[in-house]
């Protein structure tokens, strides 16, 4: 009896050690590209060209960052990106919370059918509507403006509507009923009662939207022609044309572009995870 207990304990210990080893190995695989990017960004062109490549830069050439920043209008592009990301994040949070309230709280004719359509739109590949969307935006003179990159955020997106709706449904209905008894209309209930309670979901949506906007290449590539209007993504893509294979510069800029996202991730980790938990328990 006691022997088998010790045996199973031993077994559990070896199992744990094994899992730790696998996890550490995996972490190295995952983190090494990130380190490689940082290391390359600090090397001299000579060191990058040498074989075999070094894992630790001989000298930390921080000037790569400054030189990169000065070769192209990166300050301008950063401000552009911030503006677009901020506006579409605000739009996304407000619109999706607004729409989700309609689907989660109000009972109206055709609600289930329409929500079915919302879910079904997730199955439509975005590229199918890309060309006609471009033609429409071109016809109304929105090409080479930020409008095609921002306005759609104010019209909701299926995934976020679904995510916020899930969250809203966990709020006790009595609260809504009580507010109605007190004569509040739906707009007031939405703003004063529901929104403060779904803050975690709103933050999740905000992070995902910001991240999506920040990393979007397709939209700017399609709609922005003027270099002064460029975002970081398309700017970075153009930048490659000028520096071609000077990897120290390319990696310095890549690190700079990714840094805000990495910081955002570490700061708001919990919300990234929350977003997945909310949708995870669902049956499709």
């Amino acid at each position: 009896m006691s022997n088998s207990v010790i045996g199973s304990k031993k077994k559990r210990m070896t199992k744990k050690t094994l899992i730790y080893l696998i996890l550490i190995g995996g972490s190295l695989i995952i983190l090494s590209p990130v380190w490689w990017m940082i290391a390359t960004s600090l090397k001299t062109p000579q060191e990058i060209a040498q074989y075999p490549p070094s894992f630790w830069p001989d000298s930390f050439r921080f000037s790569n960052y400054l030189e990169t920043w000065q070769t192209a209008p990166f300050t301008r592009w950063t401000l552009n990106t911030l503006l677009i990301s901020a506006l579409s994040t605000i739009g996304s949070v407000l619109a999706n919370a607004f729409i989700a309230y309609g689907f989660a709280v109000i009972k109206f004719k055709g609600r289930n059918l329409l929500f079915g359509i919302v879910m079904a739109t997730m199955l439509i590949p975005g590229f199918v509507t890309l060309v006609p969307q471009y033609i429409i935006f071109a016809k109304i003179g929105w090409v080479n403006t930020y409008l095609p990159l921002i306005v759609p955020s104010f019209l909701g997106s299926a995934f976020f509507i679904f995510l916020i709706r899930q969250f809203m449904r966990t709020i006790p209905k009595d609260m809504v009923e009580a507010a109605k008894m007190d004569g509040a209309n739906h707009f007031q209930i939405w703003w004063q009662i529901i929104l403060p309670q779904i803050k975690p979901a709103l933050i999740t949506v905000a992070i995902f939207s910001f991240n999506g906007s920040w990393n979007d290449l397709l939209g700017p590539l399609l709609y922005l022609n003027d270099e002064n209007l460029y975002t970081l993504q398309i700017g970075l893509q153009t930048f490659k044309g000028t520096v071609s294979t000077q990897w120290n510069y390319l990696m310095a800029m890549s690190t700079t572009v990714l840094l805000p996202i990495i910081l955002l991730f570490f700061y708001f980790q919990r919300y990234f995870i929350e977003g997945s938990n909310l949708t995870g328990g669902q049956k499709f």
Binding site: F98, F127, T129, V131, L155
Partner: protein, 333 residues
């Protein structure tokens, strides 16, 4: 929500005989007034979902129909639309060899990346679903690549995959393997992209982890009493419980993988398609037609073919899901 209506009905029927005139109580609302209430609710409902309706009509349904019409024309933005019947479709299937190349490349990518990333995500989630010290740190690390995307990451991978001085081949050399030239060798370009996708399996991992943590402990304890080991517990408890998520993941990631574009666009010098067009994916070909040579009619036809392919695949996913997806509430399998 429905509570209030039922309440109304109940009260109004019991009080039907006595005409109640008290204004103080809302509970006396009679039928005509009730429908007014639900009319009001209907209006409120549509006010709230109005942004979505506008977006759906203007950015999804409208464009969808518009591109259907365009696909039967020779539209190129500047000229008039001339109706050309099925010409675009005929050209796609019979004349344009790059159409088949791009479809092949895309299917290749989907076939390898979807099962591999799904299986990878499940395995990683299994490993991370442990009660151990520091497990949260590991979860953070594994999830990190999922938030990193865009041009910077593609540049990073171009550097990692650099034939002589890249990290990947450097590590392979430690094991005596002479790594391929990856993005410069037609047979290795797509595996390289699959590998890049594998790096971010952590994104899917979170979904599985969330569900695994929701599996009642009692189920595992019962299985342990019956002498089930880790492997049997996985196949008989964990796996069935996560099949709905595997299904969800497969459907969405198939659709996603079919739309691979940015990676190929950036990694092949603005959409040239890579060596021997080995990275000319469907959407890249569509993009080149639409925005490089402004053949909008042809691109729209391609868009619709893509739409139909994806719809068929999704339909098949749903059809076969009954065979393997396990739903707790329903009858088994």
């Amino acid at each position: 929500m429905s509570g209030i209506k039922e309440h109304n009905v109940a009260i109004s029927t019991t009080q039907r005989k006595s005409v109640h005139k008290s204004k103080s109580s809302d509970w006396t609302v009679r039928k005509p007034k009730m429908s007014k209430l639900s009319l009001k609710e209907n209006i409120w409902g549509y006010i709230f979902i109005a942004p979505w309706i506008i977006g759906f009509l203007g950015l999804t349904l409208g464009p969808l129909l518009f591109s259907l019409v365009t696909s039967f024309t020779d539209y190129n933005v500047t000229s008039q639309m001339n109706f050309t019947g099925f010409d675009n479709y005929k050209r796609m299937f019979t004349v344009d060899p790059l159409f088949w190349t791009s479809l092949y490349n895309t299917v290749y990518f989907v076939v390898f990346s979807v099962p591999l990333t799904t299986a990878g995500a499940v395995i990683v989630a299994m490993l991370l679903n442990q009660k151990m010290k520091g497990i949260k740190v590991f979860r953070t690390i594994y999830y990190l690549p999922a938030v990193l995307s865009g041009v910077a990451v593609y540049f990073l991978w171009m550097q990692l995959l650099s034939p002589s001085t890249g990290l990947v081949n450097t590590v392979l050399a430690w094991f005596g393997i002479d790594g391929p030239a990856w993005l410069f060798e037609p047979e290795w370009t797509k595996p390289a992209l699959v590998m890049m996708k594998m790096w971010s399996v952590g994104g899917g991992m979170l979904l599985y982890l969330a569900v695994m943590q929701g599996v009642p402990k009692a189920m595992y304890e019962a299985a342990e009493l019956d002498g089930a080991g880790s492997i049997r517990k996985f196949f008989h408890i964990t796996l069935p419980m996560i099949t709905p998520i595997i299904f969800f993941d497969m459907v969405t990631s198939t659709i996603g993988a079919f739309q691979i574009f940015q990676e190929a666009y950036v990694m092949t010098d603005s959409g040239e398609g890579g060596p021997s067009n080995s990275l000319l994916f469907y959407n890249l070909h569509m993009w080149n037609n639409a925005f490089e040579i402004f053949n909008m009619g042809y691109a729209s036809a391609m868009a619709w073919v893509l739409f139909i392919i994806v719809m068929i695949l999704t339909f098949l996913h749903f059809k076969f899901s009954k065979k393997w997806v396990y739903y707790e509430s329903g009858d088994h399998k």
